[in-house]
Structures are given as structure tokens and as C-alpha cells.
Symmetry: C3
Subunit: 347 residues, 3 copies
């Protein structure tokens, strides 16, 4: 059992440097408000500068050149990355004990790797593959012929429809539904006829998917979530969507069918994109934005419908003063009528 | 085992006609990009015309009068309907083997029809009815006194609160919660007192409900989802809502309490309606729209709040040029001041 | 078995008064449309005045001073509160029979209170506490070291991540996920590195949480949902959020990380707040609104971004007539050019 970490030790671990007492011993990490003299805290968002000044923390992790007088500081080039590293060190994630629960049901021809853990009341259907070190939480349902990559973890009650493929080192949170039927109907004379959804869903390596999110399989072909993409809770990704590697999709965002998204795109909370669009690399989509047309690489768009963010902001500024603008137009109409009557009188 | 289908055979099956080689043999269906010479592909959305020209598909399913030179074509009056028919033929949905899993728990007085399948760890509470051919997926919980119609399928982990009624041939996807308590509270002196929700939820025949969608039962009386209505993932339908037959609700849309929606209405993604409204037949609600007032039959509305779509579009066009409009008003003010000073000088 | 209630008896129970026949016997409660001569109905929303006139109800519950001729009335100062009381009396909620299902799995060192009910296929992990009268529905997963307060009910398939604390008399609906990992990543050179989420989630007493809602635990410290808060379906509350007592969050609303919300705040459907904000006491956030900045106590805000509601409404009114406003500006430009040319001609 480790009792604490010296500040110099933490600095070495994250490639940072100490400003203050290198021998200060820290036993935990806490928020600026909650920290005591044995805790390391952190200032990674300038909004909390005042809280940092007032904090009782033993030491504070900061970015380059941060000025916090009277504190022992751990300065790191990328303080939020350093925080992640220190948290991993101080709070290593407990891993479930390997083994298949006697209360789980494993189908015929399932390939179970080494050190796999399967929780109670999980169902793994015929012909599935569980990679080495995979963790299948309690109550999960893994459909026939699915693949779970090495060291991937499904938390409780995740459902995979048949034929779904999840890569290595993924984290799939509770309640997620992967590979469900896409929303495809051919309407004729008022009847919505189901278009069979025969495609599949591929989730690449190192993807994290938040609680109760749903990602449908393709109608035909593949829905694909690129490597390293991180998806928040209650997100909806429709059939046939392709998301490039490194994407970030915040909570309650939604991508409609067949839309293709480039690398390292970012969707903020409650934003969405219509179907059949091409959204470029490194695109940023603001909160509650609705993307209704293609978006070029590197764009930052907001609004309903989405336009260039600065342009939207300028329009939005005028929106607030619209009543005033209308009053000014009325006033102009009065003044010009006055001038016209004078001018008419003169002619 | 079928090895392939001749193009003429598929054309006959869907009431279409062949333009090209009727004897071409196709073994599968693929997207325009993914198809090879043995695949049928399809062009049902004009956006993909270029992909169709470049496709290596053996044959392409198209609408009337489509011109794609150098390809064998299957022309159908309603190509998307034809696609549904061909997919059903080529990829018949595997049906679960009938039988009640020994790991399922069936309550007292449950009526189990012929050829019913109940998966492991499903719970069917006392007094429920499972129609002929019904499928209850693994981990489902069917509350007391519920009814599941013939040939209806609950995928994994669906929950029905007690007394919920689901019609025939419905498809309920994983994680759906039907008949939960409505959000009803009587607030008095800052305390939100729960209003007991004693109504129920009726889902009529041929309804499909997407993953993790929730539909609450009525406070008093019924919530009702009309026959043939199709609902996407993560949709919320509140207590007391009535949706007419043939509705379409896209992902993440939401309908607040007691709102009544006519036949064949369509809600696009992330749209919503406030409570206690009347929304007419065949109404179309655009993406991210917020309906805050009654809507007449046949309307197409968009915006927050929703207005006639064309009207919204015209306003939206001016929204984009608001900074310019404001500048023009400023310029007018300067010019008129100039004229006024001249005019004043003259008087 | 009770056969009915005299109107005078119901009036006494809710502190109301009878206007009409005190001896009328009522056997149930129904909506205005659905009620017959043996039913009590209610008029708590003036929208339904016409339906009340036409109702066949035996008696109608109304607010003070309501005029409905030819009806027996039960007048109450707070009719919606009275409705809640009468519903509780006429339809007492059936409580599950206490007892732990033989198909549930209870871990080591779990403290199980008196009269606890645990359903089949539920998993309660090591070191958890179930208070007296707690109900754990079928298929629930209660993570290690969690606490469930007395008389709290988890409906089917609720998941608690380890260390989650839920207070007394809470109602947690099916599919809810509590205490999941927050969405925290430190991005460096295009790689999103997971920031370990070591905090926890505390849900205070008398909270109700709707189906498939997700509330994440804090990155460090606590996410906290204040006593008496009521949360609808498909709501997302991110890591580190603090909601004061008495909050109301309607369906599909979302609160981003670390935002703090005061007492008795109300979020309407599909609204949201960005992260790291302070939102005051008694704030009302309109439907589909996006709060992107701090909000003062008592404010009513709407729009994207949120502004004072009246101000938004005034701008919105002009938005609708923007095409007309632009036309008027054009007309002014023509008229002024005319005047200028005259004026120039005169000089």
C-alpha cells in the first residue's frame, strides 16, 4: 500500500517541473474547493483561477507560466494530460477477476480468449469471439457471431445485435445498444414497409461509448466508428454513418443515416447532422447546431441551420437588437415621408 | 441453398422491368461503392448519381426513366419499395427457435401462445399474454398483466411496465421502456408531489420502436401509438400522447404530455412538440423544430418556434444578412440626416 | 374492497368543498372525455374547459371560483394537488412482496434492510447497502459499495456504477444508468487520453428519475442531485454537475460538466446548459433553449443562446417579419436616392 507521492516524484512521472517544495507529500487528488493540505489539486481551466487562490490544496498542477503565489506548483506543458497520468497512477482502475460466471450463458462455438471475465446473467450467443482480457458485464447480450476485441470492456447491460464487431481496448458503457436496425422504411400508399437492415456495425480500436447511446448497423454495408473516437451518453448514430478516427461526440448529439464524418471532428452537446452529408476533417460543430449541408475541412459551424460560426455570431448579435432595428426603420419611414412632403411641396 | 437470382427473376418479383441483360445472375446486394459484378446495387437517391456511374455493380435498381449508360438496370416504379422486397427475398430474417428458455421466469397465469420464444433471463410477470409466434428477447421484463400480440418481437432487454399492451407484428428494439410513469407532479410550497400515473400504454399493430426509446403510460386514460407507426432510437413520448396511424418519428424527437398527433405525421430528428397540442394529419415537422402551438392538417413547419416552412426559410435567409441590413439602416440614417440638414437650411 | 367514495368524503380528504350533491358516489377517476356518471374527472388546465362542459363525468374537481353549470363540483384550493391525493387514495400503488429472489445474486458483505425486495436476475455487488423497504427490480445491477436508501425503488434494469449513493424514497425508472464515467479526455497530438473518473454520484432523498436517463459520477469529487428533484426520461446530467433541491428537468434536457444549478430551477424539454456555468435559484429555462452563460436567480430564459425570455420573444416577433423589414429598407433606399437626386439637382 502506497502512502503518498512526493511532488518531485509526480513531476518526474509526467515530465513536469516543481515550483516550490519538491518533498511535499501528497496522498490524493481533489478539486480546488475540496482539497486539503495532503491533496494535489489542479488549475486547467482559467475560470477557476479564484478558486485556486483560495484553495487549501497542498500543491496545484498548473500549465506553463501560471502565477499562483504562495503555493507549491507542479508545472506541466499539458496539465490536463498530466492530470490524466497522475490519476491513473494514484487510482488504478480495478479490473474484474477473470472467469465466466456460472450464471452466464455462453453459446456454441464461442471463442473465449485468455483472462476473459463474463458477469452473471450475460448471454454470449453462438459463434462469437471474446478477445484476451475482454470483460463482459452483468446482463450483457452479445448477439450471434459478434466480435469483442482484446481488453475491451462492456459494462453492465450492453446489447450487441448479431454480427457486430468491436475492436481492442474499447470501453462500452451500461445500456449501450450496438448494431440495432437502422430506421429505413419504403413508404407506398401510406404504408411504411420495413427495409431489411442487412449491414453491420464496426467499432474500431480504443473507442469509448457513453451510457445508453445507440449506434445502428448499416442498411447494406457498414456503419463504422473510427479508432480513438469518444462518444458521450445518449448519442444516436444512424445506419451507414462513417466517423473518421479521433472523433468526439458530446452527449445527446445525433448523426443521421449515411453521413460521413472526417478525422478528428467534434460535435458539441445536443448537436446533430442530417443524413447523406459529407462533413470534413477537424470540423467543429457547436452546441445545439443542426448541420444540414456538407461542411468543409477545418470549419467551425453553429446555428440552425449551421453556418460559419463567426458569421452566425454576427447575425445573432443583430437578432438581439431586432426590435430596435425595426423601430429605427419606422423612424426612417417617418422622416423620409416628411422630407418627401416638403420636397413635393417645393416642386 | 440458393446460388443466385437472375435479373429477370428479380424484376418479375417486384413488378419491374429489365433494361439490359435479363440473364445476368446476382448473388447479393451491395452499396454502389461496395458492389462487385455479382451484386445488385441501387440508385434511390439522386445524390449518388456519380457513384452509380462509377459503380462496378453487376446491375443497378433504378426508378422510372433513369439514364445510366452501360449498365444492366432493373427499373421499378417505386425503387425503394422494390429494394425492400428484394432484400427480404435475398436475406430472410432468421427467426428464433420457439421455446421458453429454462433460464426465463414465467409468472402465474401467463397465457403463452403457440411457437413463442422466450430468451434467457427474461421475466414475464403474472397474468400476461404472449400471442402466437411472439419473441421475448433475453433479459426482457414484461410487467404484470401485459399483452404482447402475435408475431411481435421484443429484442433484448426491453421493459414493459404492468398493464402495457403491444399489438401484432410489432418490433421493439433493445433497451426500449414502454409504459413507464409519466412526468406528473403537483407543486405546492416548493414540494413536487407525485401524481400517480394510473393510465396505460397501448401500442397498436405493426409498430416499430427503436433502441432505448421511452414511451410513458397515461396519467389517466391511455397513451396510444397508432398502427403502422415507426419510431426511431432515443425518442421520448410522454404520458397521454396519442399518435395516429402511420406516423414516423425520427431519432431523438420528443412529444410532450397529452399532445394529439393525426395520421401520417412526420417528425424529423431532434424535433419536439410541447404538451396539450393538436397536430394535424400529414403534418411534417423539420429537424430540430420546436412545435409550440397547434398545427393544421398538411402543414410543413420548421423553426423554434415552428412556423410555416417557407416563411421560416425566408426569414432565415435574411437572418444571415442581418449585419449587412443593420449597416444599411445606419447608412440610411446618415443620408437622411444629411438631407434633413439641407432641407432645414432651405426652409 | 371499497366500492366507491362519496363526493363529500373526497372533499374532506383533500380539504375542499362540494358544490352540488355531497352524496354522489364515485367509483373511479377518468379524463373529461372518458368519464362516465360514476367517475370523478378534473379541470386543472383551462384549455380543457370545453371538454369539461361536454363531459359525462359524475363530478368534476375544479379550482376556486370555477363556473361549470349543471355539474357536481369538488372545489379545491390547489386542484392538481387534490387530484394527486385522490389518485393515491383510489389507486394505492401495489408494493412488491418483500424477499430476495433466488435468481438474484447478492455479493459479500451486502447489508440488506428489513422488508427489502430484490427481483430475479438482479446483481447487488459486494459491500452495498439496501435500506429498509428498498425495492430492487428485475435485472438491476448495483455496483460495489453502493447505497440505496430506505423505501427507494429501482425499477427494472437500473444500473448503478460502484460507489453510487441514492437516498431515501427515490424512484428510479427502468433503464436508468447512475454513476457512469464522465466524458473527460485530455487531447494531445490528436489522441484523446481518458481522464480517470474517480469521483462519485450522490442522489439525495425523494428524487425521481425517468426511464433511460443517465447521470455520470464526478471526475473528482461529487455529482449531486438535490433532494426532491424530479427528472424526466432520457435526460443527461454530466460529471460534476450539482443540482439544488427541488429541481425539475423535463425530457431530453441535458446539463454539461461541472455546471451548478440552484434550488427549484426548471429545465423544459430538450433544453440544455453548457459546462462550468452557475445557474441561479428558481431559474426557468424554456424548451429547446441552450444556456451558454451564467444565469441569475429568478430568470426566465429562452433561445439559442439563452437570453431573457421577453427579450427573446420580442426579437422572435421581428424575425418572422424579416423579409418585410428588408423590403422596407430597400424601399427606403430607393426613396432616399430619389430625394438625393432632387436635392442634388437643386444645389
Amino acid at each position: 500500500m502506497k502512502n503518498g507521492w512526493r511532488l518531485s516524484e509526480l513531476a518526474a512521472a509526467v515530465g513536469g517541473r516543481v515550483r516550490g517544495d519538491p518533498d511535499r507529500v501528497l496522498t490524493g487528488i481533489a478539486t480546488l474547493d475540496g482539497a486539503g493540505p495532503d491533496d494535489l489539486s489542479f488549475l486547467t481551466n482559467p475560470r477557476y483561477r479564484q478558486a485556486a487562490d483560495a484553495s487549501r490544496a497542498g500543491a496545484i498542477l498548473v500549465g506553463p507560466g501560471s502565477e499562483l503565489s504562495g503555493k507549491d506548483l507542479l508545472e506541466a506543458a499539458e496539465p490536463y494530460v498530466a492530470l490524466a497520468e497522475i490519476l491513473e497512477r494514484m487510482h488504478p482502475e480495478p479490473t474484474p477477476v477473470p472467469g465466466v460466471s456460472p450464471d452466464a450463458r455462453i453459446g456454441a462455438g464461442v471463442s473465449v480468449g485468455r483472462d476473459v471475465a463474463v458477469g452473471p446473467f450475460a448471454v454470449v450467443a453462438d459463434g462469437s469471439t471474446l478477445g484476451d482480457g475482454a470483460v463482459i458485464g452483468p446482463g450483457c447480450v452479445v448477439g450471434q457471431g459478434s466480435e469483442i476485441g482484446p481488453r475491451t470492456r462492456l459494462h453492465a447491460r450492453v446489447v450487441l445485435y448479431p454480427g457486430t464487431s468491436v475492436g481492442a481496448r474499447c470501453i462500452i458503457h451500461a445500456g449501450v445498444v450496438l448494431g440495432g436496425d437502422g430506421f429505413g422504411f419504403a413508404t407506398s400508399r401510406g404504408v411504411h414497409r420495413k427495409v431489411p437492415q442487412i449491414g453491420r456495425l464496426v467499432v474500431e480500436d480504443d473507442v469509448e461509448i457513453g451510457a445508453n447511446t445507440t449506434i445502428d448497423r448499416a442498411s447494406i454495408g457498414e456503419t463504422r466508428v473510427g479508432a480513438g473516437t469518444k462518444i458521450d451518453n445518449l448519442v444516436m448514430i444512424a445506419h451507414g454513418v462513417v466517423i473518421g478516427p479521433g472523433g468526439l461526440l458530446a452527449a445527446q448529439s445525433g448523426i443521421a443515416g449515411s453521413t460521413q464524418i472526417g478525422r478528428h471532428a467534434m460535435f458539441a452537446g445536443q448537436s446533430g447532422a442530417a443524413g447523406h452529408l459529407k462533413i470534413g476533417h477537424r470540423v467543429i460543430v457547436g452546441a445545439k447546431t443542426a448541420v444540414l449541408a456538407d461542411v468543409e475541412d477545418g470549419s467551425y459551424v453553429t446555428g440552425i441551420p449551421a453556418v460559419d460560426h463567426r458569421s452566425w455570431k454576427r447575425s445573432q448579435a443583430v437578432f438581439r437588437e431586432l426590435p430596435d432595428l425595426r423601430a429605427r426603420v419606422r423612424q426612417l419611414e417617418r422622416r423620409i415621408a416628411e422630407l418627401e412632403s416638403k420636397s413635393g411641396g417645393e416642386s
